[in-house]
């Protein structure tokens, strides 16, 4: 479902003497449907960079990133937009929403964007928020005022609202307590069971051991010639 081949990435800092920073080379990995692959490596080794290249907000220098039938590295913006609507989900570490929008709407939005009737979308959002222990009295408030852990759970609910065939999870259990962490791991297990291909970053080793079928060390993708 997700296949990365010979992927390379560098940053050119035009405003700092046009310094070129090669950050990744020869990256190769794949994730099959129903499989969860964890990325490991020290902080700054390129785990998030790799995730963002799959998501499409970082450009690849060369190589291939196939998600479903689309090569994200070559795709036009609107193809990536289509991919993100129906195929590829992403739970990032940060919640970025329009202030003032109620939590329930934030969670339902991916469904609304797909044309799901509003009441159905809200029902689905409500059931996820309930599972993730967000009290109902908060649903009509904007999540921008929530604690870090609450925001993270809203973000997860939003990411799991639609059954994407492929999912990117960036530290989904960080800053969660044991109870909620377990709920998230359940959600991941359910997604795997329905055949989703998942690429994730999990700092929590226990969590990683529980859901990941394999791990890939991104240090193997560090360019050989240091900049």
């Amino acid at each position: 479902m997700i296949e990365i081949r010979d992927l390379a990435k560098s940053f050119t800092l035009h405003n700092q003497g046009a310094a070129v920073l090669p950050v990744m080379a020869n990256a190769n990995l794949h994730v099959r449907p129903g499989e969860c692959v964890g990325l490991i490596g020290a902080s700054g080794a390129g785990k998030s960079t790799l995730m963002r290249m799959v998501w499409g907000n970082y450009l690849a220098a060369s190589g291939m990133i196939r998600v479903g039938t689309l090569d994200v590295a070559q795709a036009a913006p609107r193809q990536i937009i289509q991919l993100r609507r129906k195929t590829l989900g992403y739970v990032s570490q940060f919640l970025r929403v329009v202030p003032r929008v109620p939590t329930i709407e934030v969670v339902a939005e991916p469904l609304l964007n797909l044309g799901v009737p509003a009441d159905q979308a809200r029902d689905r959002a409500a059931s996820l928020l309930t599972r993730l222990n967000i009290p109902e009295r908060l649903w009509n408030l904007s999540p921008t005022t929530f604690s870090g852990g609450e925001q993270q759970r809203v973000n997860i609910a939003r990411g799991f609202a639609y059954p994407y065939p492929a999912l990117l999870l960036d530290e989904p259990t960080a800053s969660l307590d044991a109870v909620n962490g377990a709920v998230v791991l359940d959600l991941i297990a359910e997604a795997k069971a329905r055949g989703a291909a998942i690429l994730g970053i999990f700092h929590d080793e226990a969590a990683r051991a529980q859901v990941c079928d394999r791990v890939v060390d991104v240090r193997d993708f560090t360019p050989k010639v240091a900049a």
């Binding site: 940053f11 050119t12 800092l13 035009h14 405003n15 046009a18 963002r52 499409g56 907000n57 970082y58 450009l59 913006p77 609107r78 990536i80 937009i81 289509q82 993100r84 609507r85 992403y90 990032s92 940060f94 919640l95 970025r96 929403v97 329009v98 202030p99 003032r100 929008v101 939005e109 609304l112 964007n113 797909l114 044309g115 973000n155 939003r158």
Partner: protein
């Protein structure tokens, strides 16, 4: 996480608007040069750049407010693709009040300040032949509601409204005829931050529910982050970079875009 306001119509392969080689000069000075892009149904395109970068000139040329020196702006009309640059003025103006909409930065430029809120909303309906007062009024009330203006303000003039309400009224006035393409020039400029947020939310909902395509000119990167699917960065009249909004903002390739993104506190 970037948010996408795509409607199902986005799957068509036919661009709603296809711009090729659009150029406008002011004597020897360049307004905008050789701008080309396609806009697909349901897509929101952001155009960013600093003052004088040519983004407003480009918007004026696109919307037919100013004739470009070169290039074409091909719009998918009900009768098929037509170049709006060469089209007869009568047709272009008819299109401007049916299929198109234009939201000005300053509501005073887009509203009739001496006419009631209901009259402002009803004008486009009457312009396309509505002749039933009761129906016009019902539609105006419906649209005031959609932009969160109480129905009992229908007979008040816009000058009695706050800046945010005026801007929402301008949006209602523009969208009442169900346009397919909306041009917006700094729609949230000049508004308080909290009012901006409310307006952004409203715009996102309308874009989604009506399947609108939109071209938004702004210098506010936070606005495009939340509203635009795609981004075009302009400098000195030229498009220096374009792509997916979060890609351009998170991994800018051009020196100017990098400067622009790094100059903002947090987007």
């Amino acid at each position: 996480m970037g948010m996408l306001n795509l409607n199902l119509t986005a799957e068509t392969d036919q661009p709603l608007l296809s711009v090729q080689g659009l150029t406008k000069r002011y004597g020897a000075r360049i307004g905008c040069a050789d701008v080309s892009f396609d806009l697909f149904p349901g897509e929101v395109l952001g155009i960013v750049g600093e003052s004088g970068s040519g983004k407003s000139t480009l918007l004026s040329c696109l919307a037919g407010h100013m004739p470009p020196d070169q290039g074409s702006v091909i719009f998918q009309t009900a009768q098929g693709p037509r170049d709006t640059v060469t089209m007869a003025e009568a047709d272009r103006r008819r299109m401007a009040r049916t299929d198109w909409a234009f939201v000005h930065q300053n509501p005073r430029d887009g509203l009739r300040m001496g006419v009631s809120a209901g009259g402002n909303v009803g004008e486009r309906l009457m312009a396309i032949g509505a002749r039933h007062y009761g129906d016009i009024r019902d539609k105006a009330i419906d649209w005031l509601g959609r932009v969160e203006i109480a129905a009992d303000r229908i007979d008040d003039r816009p000058r009695a409204f706050s800046g945010g309400m005026q801007q929402r009224l301008q949006i209602a006035r523009n969208l009442v005829t169900g346009p397919r393409l909306v041009f917006m020039d700094e729609p949230t400029g000049g508004l308080d931050v909290s009012v901006q947020a409310r307006l952004l939310d409203l715009l996102r909902g309308l874009v989604r529910d009506m399947g609108l395509s939109a071209i938004i000119v702004t210098h506010d990167l936070a606005v495009v982050r939340l509203l635009a699917d795609r981004l075009m960065v302009m400098k000195s009249g030229h498009v220096v970079e374009q792509g997916l909004t979060d890609q351009v903002l998170d991994d800018p390739q051009h020196a100017y875009t990098q400067l622009l993104v790094s100059s903002v506190l947090q987007v």
